[in-house]
Amino acid sequence: MSERLTALRETIRQILPQVDGVIGLKTGPAGIVAPYLFKPGHPEMLDSLALWPKEPVPDTLKIIQKAYPNARLAIVCRGCEERGVVEMFKHAQVSLENLTLIGLQCVQEEALFCRCAKPYTVHARVTVGSPIAGVPDPLTEAFAAKSQAEKLAFWKEQFQHCIKCYGCRNICPQCFCNVCALEDEKWVETGRLPLPNPSLYHIIRAMHMTAKCVACRECEETCPAGIPLAIHFRLVARDVKEMFHYETGAVIEQKPPQLLTLEEGDYERSGLP
């Protein structure tokens, strides 16, 4: 871990003079890790550079680019965060111009923690650490193997604990609509907890994350009720890959499939009559 940290520090040190700032993680005075903009004049700040726990840095990039559209930036991103930046670019949330991606490769224990299928970057030209293979997601596999009644019971139990704090939506770097369906009285009643089944709140959110979720697991990490939310998103991502041949973050030029027309073979794979 510390070897990677040293390597990352060195990489940032080299890039710093060529940019206006580098987005990474920093340990604050109270020991809390948070996103931070390292600036060329202050290389000493790199002493408190941090790697873990990961944070939704694509959002930080978006905020800074909004305020300083012409800034030359670099961002330290893991596989999931790189996918996040790519998908946000496709939805016009961030710009890839004037942006250097510093790909941070995850280590085995991090990948296991995230149950991550792709703990590596694919676009970044500057990388730190060596890429490792993806690991299985036992939670999602166990869920997928359940019977219909068990699935029903599983979510009934889980969603019972949801306090509708909107944390999962707020933390998600891919959730950025100005008007949110989850605040629309027609679908999610104000002042009431989502009924556990069917939980419109969660099904609608999963629906809206179709071909957008980059499997960063920030929603799960943030949920105060510890609900394994990524299960929904990962199963849908699998369907999107099978039906529409789309994987988030993989190909920068490929348009997301949820809008526009059916492409060759899409319909045949959709399972509709």
Partner: protein
């Protein structure tokens, strides 16, 4: 045996006219489907389908023009994509995908409309009333 309550969203340009054709030919089909006419099947958001279930519908039908015949060129392409995903999501929540029927009925297909309504009603009847799932 119970009488399932079914909401049917029919697009104005094909399926609703298909229903008219069935009516004009006096075809018989079960009265379980409450029809709601919409401009295009592409209007039907997953939220609407889910709310129908929440309000106690046992099944939902989304019928539109055949692919290629949509009055708005590709409105039903969206229907096809989002309903395919919604069906999966229903399954992932323990709700049978058989409760959601997505199909294409043209203005001339009165008979297809009548058989579809009959077969879907029977299909839904085999499942437990949705309110029992909601408990």
């Amino acid at each position: 045996m119970y009488e399932p309550k079914i909401i049917g969203f029919l697009c104005n340009w094909c399926s609703y006219r298909g229903a008219d054709t069935a009516g004009m030919a006096r075809m018989k089909y079960p009265p379980n489907v409450k029809i709601i006419r919409v401009p295009c099947s592409g209007r039907i958001s997953p939220e609407l389908v889910l709310r129908c279930f929440r309000e106690g519908a046992d099944g939902v039908m989304v019928l539109g023009c055949h692919i290629g015949d949509c009055h708005y060129a590709n409105g039903n392409h969206r229907t096809a994509k989002r309903m395919a995903i919604l069906r999966q999501l229903l399954e992932y929540n323990g709700i049978e995908a058989q409760r959601l029927c997505v199909d294409w009925v043209s203005a001339a297909e009165g008979e297809k409309f009548a058989t579809l309504i009959a077969s879907f009603t029977e299909q839904v009847r085999q499942l437990a009333p949705f309110v029992e799932i909601m408990q």
